[in-house]
Each structure stands twice: as C-alpha cells, then as structure tokens.
Amino acid sequence: MTRKQRRGVLIGSGVAILSVAAVLVMFAFRESIVFFHTPSDVAEKKIGAGKRFRLGGLVADGSVKRGQGTTVQFAVTDTLAKVNVSFTGILPDLFREGQGVVTEGKLGPDGSFVADMVLAKHDENYMPPEVAKALEEKGVKLGAGAQHKGGKDY
C-alpha cells in the first residue's frame, strides 16, 4: 500500500467517523436541548403545556409547602411574575426561600410547573449565571452574596 493510499484510508475513516458524529450531534441537539425561562417569560410567552424547559429565579418567600408524602410545593419568582412549582423528591441542601434556584420540568395543564429536577448548588454564594443574568435584565437587585463579583472563591 502506498503512502498516498494509506493517507486516503486514514482521512477517509476519520471523515466518516466525524460525519457520523456530526449527524449524532445534530440529532441529539434537536432532541435534548432544554431552554431556560424566567417566570415572566412563562407569563409572556405562553409556553405550551408538556414542553420541557428550565425555570429559574428566586424561591418566593413563604411559598414552600411540604405536603403529605414527598411532594413539595413552592413558587419561583423574578419579582415580576410567579410560577407555582411542585416537585416530588428530596430538595438539595441549599434550597431555601429567597435563594436562587433552577428547576427542570414541564408546565402542567393548570399552568403550574411540575419539576423533576431541582438543581443543587454547592455554595451559599453561588448564583447560577442564567438566573443572575435573567434577574439583572429584569432589574432585580441581588444581595451582595448572590452577586458574582467579589464573591468568595472556593
């Protein structure tokens, strides 16, 4: 086998695998991308029931209700709008009223959000960047701890 043929085989197999991967990536993106929305987006955009997305904001003060069994209800707010969320499972350790939170799930027919995932954070001072940005865009003032700059670095 000549050098040229060898190179041909190498490049050919490389390109073939790369294109398979590219197709997989395109397909996977279409299937699995999850958009991020704030409660006001939910109010404005009228996101259809059954579409999966991430809802982020602050846990509204006084909204956490632990029901019977393992379902917890709370509201996520960006101070302009509020969406009720129900979640069955164990909340992360740092889940607290007034703190930033990201949940993932779908809107139910009654307009409340059914989450199957509540994102855990590891650090009191950490605010998920989308939440921080979304809240900033809405003009919500964040506490010093929630701000990125000057935060402590672990």
């Binding site: 699995s32 499972g89 164990i90 993932e104 960047p129």
Partner: protein, 660 residues
Amino acid sequence: MIAEIGHFALILALAVALAQMTVPMWGAHVRDVRLMAIGDSAAVVQFLLLIVSFLALSHAFVTSDFSVLNVASNSHSEKPLIYRISGTWGNHEGSMLLWVLILGLFGAAVAVFGRHLPATLRANVLGVQASIAVAFLLFMLFTSNPFERVDPAPFEGRGLNPILQDPALAFHPPFLYAGYVGFSMAFSFAVAALIEGRIDAAWARWVRPWTLAAWMCLTLGIAMGSWWAYYELGWGGWWFWDPVENASFMPWLAGTALLHSALVMEKREALKVWTILLAILTFSLSLMGTFLVRSGVLTSVHAFAVDPDRGIVILTIMMLFTGGGLALFAWRAGALRQGGIFAPISREGSLVLNNVLLSVACATVLVGTLYPLALEGITGEKISVGPPFFNMTFIPLMLPLLFAMPFGPLLAWKRGDVRAVAQRLGFVAGLAVLFTVIVAVMSGPGPWLAPICVALGLFVLLGAITDLFTRARFGDVSSDEFRRRIVSLPRSAYGTALAHAGIGIMVLGIVGTSAYQTEKIVALKPGEKAEVAGYELLFKGIQPTKGPNYSEQIATFEVARNGAPVTTLLPSKRLYNAPPQPTTEAGIYAAWTGDLYIALGDEQPSGAVAMRLYFHPFVRLIWLGSVIMFIGGMISLSDRRLRVGAPQRARARASAVPAE
C-alpha cells in the same frame, strides 16, 4: 512574616521563571552550552521557591493566621487539621498556587532526570515550561495573590464550604492538577520539537512516561471527584455530564489518545504530525478546563462562587498558548519528516482508530459543553445541554471503540491478520455473549442497549487477559513453559492489559448502575418500614449528636434481607458551624452485588422524614476500574524499557564495549 516570605518567594519565582524562559532558549538558538545550562538550575530554583511559597501558605492555614485574607475567608480555627491543610488548595488563590507548584515540579523533573536529552531540546522544553509558569505567576501576583493581608485581622475565619471538608475531595484537586499540568510536558516537548523542526522515536520515548504519569493522575483525580459526588451530594449519581465534569473529561479523552499515538510514534515513527497536534490540543483542553471551572461562565451543579474577571485573564492565557502552539504548528509541521508505512489492518491501524474515535468523542463533548455559551452569545437564548445529549452522542462512539479494544494489542505491527486475532478472541467473545444472555434473562426487562454493553465490558476484560495469554503463547507451549513465560512478560504488557481490563470493569459498573438501579422516594415515620431491591429497611428514628465543627441528626436504619439482619445504616444531616450550611451524609451499605444507599431529606410537619432509597448494582466497579487503570499505569511506568533515559544508557554501554 511567614506570609511575606511566601509572597516574596512567589515574586522571586517569577523572576527566575522569566530568566528560564529566555536565556536557555537563546542559548539553544546560538548553541551556547553555558546559557542552555542555566535552564536546569533555574528550573530547580524555581521549584524550590514555589515550595517555600506553598509551605508558607500551608503554614498560614494550619496555624489559622487570619491576618491573611485568603485564610480568613476560607478557613476556620475549629476545622480538623487535615481540612486546614487541604484548605490551602480549597480556594481559588491556593489552587492556582498548587497549579504553579506542580508546573514547577515537572520543570524541575526535566532538569534533574533529563540529563540524557539533547541539550537544545532540554533547553527549549524548559523555556516553554517556564513561559507557562510566567503567565500563571503574573496572573496570581496581579489578580489573585494568596498572601494578601487584611487589617485588622478578623477574630475568626469564615470557614471552608462544608461539602469540601471531605477526604476524597481533599486529594481530588492535587491529582486533577497533576493531570492537567502534567500534559504541559507534552505541550512543551511538542513546541520544542516544532522549534527545532526535528522529531523522532527518542522524542516519543521521552514524552510517553510524562503523558502516562499525567494521565494516571487525571484518571484518579476524576474518579475521586465522581466518588465524592456519589456519596456526598446525596443524589446517588456518579456522573452528571456537567460542564465542570466535562472540563476534566476532555483532557482525559485527548490525553488517552495522545498516549496511544505516542506509542505509534515511538515504535514505528509514524503519526508524528498528529501526535504533536494532539499534544498541543491536550494541554489546551487542560487550560480550558481550568478556565471553565474558574470563570463560571457555564451553569454547573459543581460550581463554587466564581469570578468572571479572573476568568477572562485565564481565557487570555489559554488563547495565547493554544493560539501560539497551533500557529507554530501550522508554520513548522510541514518540516517534520514522514514516518513508517503501515496497512490499515495493523497495530498502528487499530491505534489510529482509537485516536479517531477518542478525538471525535472529545469533540462532541466539547460541542455539547460550549454550545450553550455560543448560542447565548449569538442569539441571547439560554439553553442547557444535559445528559441526554451526551448519552446520544458519546455512547455510540464508545461502542465501536470498546469492540475494537481487545483486537488492538493482538494485531501485529505494520500488517496484522485480523482473522487470526478474531479466532483467538472467539472463545472469550462467546463467553461474554453467553454470560450476557444469562444476565439478560435473570435481570428481566431493562434497556435493550444494556446487555450489549455488558457483553462489550466483559469482552474488553477477557480480551485483556487473552492478550497476556497469547503473548505467553498459551496452548503453543507446555504448561511449565507457559508459566515461566507469563511471569517474565514485560511490565508494559501487564500495564496495557490492566488498563484495558480496568476499562472493561468500569463499563460493567456503569451499565449495572445506569440500567438496573432502583430508586425510591418515601416518607417514613419512626418504626415504619420500606423495601428496596430485596432489602427491608426499618427506620428506628433520629438522634442528634455533635461533631468537631458541626451538629448532626443521625437516623438509624436496621437493614434485613429475607428476615435475616444485614447491617445498621446511619445516614445523617449535618449543620456546620462555619459557614452555617447543611450537608447530607448518605448511609451506604456495600454488598457484593451493589450499594444500598440512603439519603435523608427534610422532616415533614407530620413527623415523617422524606428520604431517597437507592440500590446501585455494581456501582463500585466504576471506581475499582479507575484504580486498576491507575495501577496499570504504575506498572507500565516501572518497566525498564520505558524508564526515563534508560534506552540511551543501554545503547551507550553497548557501543562502549567494542571500543575497548
């Protein structure tokens, strides 16, 4: 005072690094031996200065010197000693110091063990290595000085984030960084080779041990992080495809590819250009990992408070080295001589397939990790790319790799006979399929892919053993001869077999826990029972206790199986004093067939406690596999043939004999 010594040592290290960056390279250019020799002593001195600096910071942490800002913001006097020590690198400034210290260690290692390297190559390598150190030392001294004082000194520190107060996480960053920074050696050697325009098998013989050492550390570092996430975070997951996890996984994938392509280069002098490119890319991915983790541009469940401004500096450093390396590559790669020829079906061919699959897989992970960032930059839309994306793209690329893995080591160099190899592997392949059918029938319904993955995992594991048996000519020679041969196989053969077997074992663990795990979320009152995967759990109640720097609510569970008592599990919730933050400590019972796992949730108004019960079949094989991979690397490193400088010495002696 000691903090000032540390600060001063850091500044001196910068000065030395500046000298090391310029003088030896100039010496290599003008062929002045004395100028080049400065690189060696500079590298050692730089390393010693960094040790002084690091010890000074550790001293401040151990003695709780709160007049140092970094200690005041990240430590607490009540913390146990081990976490005061690990607290040194449990924060941004300290972790950067650890980064540079390890960089210095590798530089000094080249100076000390690299006597047999050609003088110009060594000088250039040390110069490139020093330029990385200069960038990071400047970054530290100007934006994140670990020795900054605070006046007046606070009476007490703010404490280390409690979930970082954990043995596995104490040693996770050093191993991870040893991996990241270890790849800087490959980068420095690649750039030095490009500068010289010369590269040969001796180059690969040099680069491979360093890459292997870095790869081992990274493997163990990632495994420790995953183990920590598994038992400390309380959601029972071991891998989340989170940006921070991907940041460490991408250099691992590229580094694994580099390890194999360097092998081709060493043995056959082929794939030179590709190996150089891979070396540059692997280190660039390491820098990107550091950037992603430190800047917090991506939402991550593992993110700690981060600083985007500092992130931009690291991004600049990354651009500088990646861009510089690639530009040099584009300019000089054409000058490198082409190497040996091989047929597509050969050991080289299989290693090329390994490289293509690993780098494409690495690219898909990169796309998935960075796409949200790119989309937000372009359209402003915020999205997240989660585990489904990675499962859909990464797994299909790994399946052919796993299938091809046992074939590779059995194929001959240059031109292999795939039919003969298939015959040798036929027996173990049959065994793997048979065992899989039994598993599929016994475990009942599950994902259709799971039995296939079980078969592949077993095939890889048994294939690694077949490789050893074949090398010792099992069946061709008498059993005594076979026994003699198998113990005298080169260590590198054992290393390869162990590393491959480790992958097989890990795959089995991944499939077991991903496809067959049982999860239950229940709320129990004291005295109530729950059942998971055949285990009966009796919840006895909750008792409060006190730890060294936390208060704890410990729940007691009596675990029984078929009526016979098995064990008592004590999951708990802790509330740390400083900072006041709750953590969940899972209760885990490790049985042969898997882990029984209990994580406590909140107490309900009715007095019941919400809790999550899991059974993770064979989950421990994931970490066992990583440890076996690490051991395989160790054994391979201890091989005489791979030992740094050994080939040159042997050749020198051989040529010396006839001269006498």
